[in-house]
């Protein structure tokens, strides 16, 4: 019983509003990822849940209890920091047992819990070392171990993988997913990396400028974004966004004026729109087409991406169904199904 409820939560530093009214429900045992560009307020929101920043207005409930004024130590949370924040003068064992020692737990219980966490994270051999003697990945595991030992209702992760190299990051990402299964608790995870968000989350919360742009499952956000920001943010490579104007029989794109693209939704003629199509939604068997000239080719082995343009200067990213013969300078007909297009209005909102 440790879901979270945020009701019209706001935060301002002096005259600057950082969080501008967030309403959010997080279910028990859910893995929720806050994602957004830097400065969007995702870390601040997490720190408010942790109790490290005061909530300017609104209510925070963990379980059924209002937690606005409760001490961080009594909220039933544990936090893993980007810089790990291990106490450098203590051994791994002391680091992990520190909170319990301060809570006045008996020595045997502390030892038992530390050993249990060490087993889960395979830290057994490192228990008597100090953080300075550990690698980045090991330190991160100790930081997670320190959180596990407290048996929290909610785990908070603040960009935990940002300081690791690419290979280790993938490895730790899998570890964290496994941990969520094993511990079976609520996790709130902050990242700016949308791949981490897509792979880990039960629910993604996309933030921008202190407000929630959209919240939903990874595939909901991918398939059905509410606005241009979410459409551009979720998915890798990024969605292609092309400006155009609605006409009687479809949409005329500024970069491809020779075609009239069939619109999947009814748009009044004369409306300025932005059309989104994901690179992977180009399909050689599609019924519509854009004529492009290829500027750059990227062979990834399993897939070949073409960066191509029409009449305008915008480069279109196209997954070519692994067309290995394509060369720079080739003409390429990028085919697609009109149903896979997403159309956005002038205000950035999705037209459905």
């Amino acid at each position: 019983m440790s879901g979270l409820k945020l009701r019209n939560v706001k935060k301002s530093f002096g005259a600057v509003d950082v969080i501008k009214g967030v309403d959010l429900d997080i279910e028990d045992k859910q893995f929720v990822v806050f994602v957004g560009p830097s400065g969007c307020g995702k870390s601040t929101l997490l720190r408010m849940i942790a109790g490290l920043e005061q909530i300017s207005s609104g209510d925070l409930f963990i379980g059924d209890k209002r937690m606005n004024e409760v001490d961080p130590a009594h909220r039933g949370i544990a936090m893993v920091f980007q810089s790990y924040a291990l106490y450098p003068h203590m051994t791994v064992r002391e680091n992990m047992g520190f909170a319990l020692k301060f809570a006045g737990r008996p020595k045997e219980e502390i030892a038992k819990r530390v050993d249990e966490a060490a087993r889960i994270l395979e830290l057994g051999k490192l228990l008597d070392r100090r953080p300075g003697q550990l690698s980045g990945g090991q330190r991160q595991r100790v930081a997670i171990g320190r959180a596990i030992v407290r048996h929290p209702d909610v785990f908070l992760f603040d960009e935990p993988l940002s300081n690791l190299d690419a290979e280790l990051r993938v490895h730790m990402r899998i570890e964290i997913a496994r941990l969520h299964k094993e511990l079976n608790t609520t996790i709130i995870y902050v990242t700016h990396d949308q791949v981490e968000a897509m792979t880990l989350a039960d629910k993604i919360v996309v933030l921008r400028d202190g407000i929630i742009e959209q919240a939903g499952s990874p595939l909901e956000l991918y398939d059905d974004p509410d606005n241009l920001f979410v459409a551009g943010f979720i998915g890798s490579p990024k969605m292609n966004l092309l400006t155009g104007t609605a006409e009687a029989g479809g949409i005329r794109l500024a970069d491809f004026p020779e075609h009239l693209v069939p619109s999947p939704v009814a748009v009044p003629a004369g409306t300025a729109v932005t059309v989104g199509i994901r690179p992977e939604h180009f399909d050689p068997t599609g019924s519509a087409a854009l004529d492009t000239s290829v500027e750059i080719i990227e062979h990834l082995g399993g897939e070949t991406y073409a960066y191509a343009r029409g009449a305008g200067s915008n480069l279109l990213t196209i997954a070519t169904d692994n067309n290995r013969t394509l060369k720079t300078g080739d003409r390429y007909q990028a085919r697609f199904n009109p149903a896979s297009l997403l159309v956005f209005g002038k205000d950035g909102k999705r037209l459905r």
């Binding site: 942790a50 490290l52 130590a73 009594h74 936090m79 924040a85 909170a99 300075g132």
Partner: protein, 272 residues
């Protein structure tokens, strides 16, 4: 190496270093040699070791109540250093960790006060101590030094390298602010404390003017005052003065060499 200009540069560098080394080391040497000579020889400028060491030491110990004086010096310097470090590092921690509209203004005001010379504070301070009936007490020496602006500044600068996330982690682990200071901040900043210990201990140990004014009876005097007092006789016995100077210098030397490695780390602001 064949470049004559480069060679000349090296010769000049070494010459300068030799002069600097001589200037720094000669007083020590003079003190050590002087302690072994009779006063008359020292005045003549004798620079070779003599045979009067034991006599000088015995005269020194006969004319000075050494255990008492050493206790005074160590008590004042020791307690003074501990209190200064505690109070000034607390202030430095507070200035760096807590945001406030007035923080920089107050801090700027403090730094401005560094420019007030002690001579200007001496008389008001003496009147204050007299009003508190603290003349000729240890606390008269210790209290005015415990909030050292320089050490507050030094700790604030060093605290900039202290990771704020450690404080956050400690808060989540359930520590109160004073516990964070005691169990996290102080151990993490031990190099800074070591460097500050040397600076403050030396300053307290060598402090002369203020103790001279406030400590008025012989049994309260510190070693610095006593050694200075030896030279004020009509015909000072310089051999004995040198023995006193050795005793007065020894503790700061010992502390410096004990904490030297940490001192250098602290000066570099290294926090690991």
């Amino acid at each position: 190496m064949s470049n004559p200009l480069a060679l000349l540069g090296r010769v000049a560098t070494y010459a300068l270093l030799i002069i600097a080394a001589f200037v720094s080391v000669f007083p020590f040497l003079w003190m050590l040699i002087g302690a072994t000579n009779y006063s008359a020889d020292i005045i003549k400028g004798k620079v070779t070791p003599g045979t009067a060491l034991l006599q000088n030491i015995s005269v020194f110990f006969n004319s000075v109540d050494m255990p008492r004086i050493l206790f005074n010096s160590f008590f004042i310097a020791g307690v003074g250093t501990a209190l200064t470090l505690l109070i000034s590092s607390l202030a430095g921690y507070g200035f760096e960790m807590f945001r406030s509209k007035f923080r920089e203004k107050v801090f700027g005001g403090l730094l401005l006060m560094l420019s007030i010379p002690f001579a200007a504070l001496m008389i008001p301070l003496f009147i204050m101590m007299a009003n508190f009936k603290m003349i000729n007490t240890y606390q008269a020496i210790i209290l005015p030094t415990v909030a050292s602006i320089f050490i507050i500044f030094y700790f604030r600068q060093a605290t900039k390298a202290f990771p704020h996330e450690l404080r956050d982690a400690a808060r989540i682990d359930g520590l109160k602010e004073w516990q964070i200071f005691l169990y996290v901040y102080m151990p993490v900043m031990r190099s800074t404390y070591a460097a500050a210990t040397i600076i403050v201990f030396m300053a307290n140990w060598n402090n002369y003017l203020w103790p001279l004014i406030v400590l008025q009876t012989n049994e309260m005097k510190t070693l610095t005052l006593v050694v200075a007092g030896l030279t004020s006789a009509y015909t000072p016995d310089f051999g004995v003065v040198m023995v006193g100077a050795i005793f007065a210098t020894l503790p700061t030397l010992v502390i410096f060499f004990l904490l030297q490695r940490r001192f250098v780390e602290g000066m570099l602001g290294a926090v690991k």
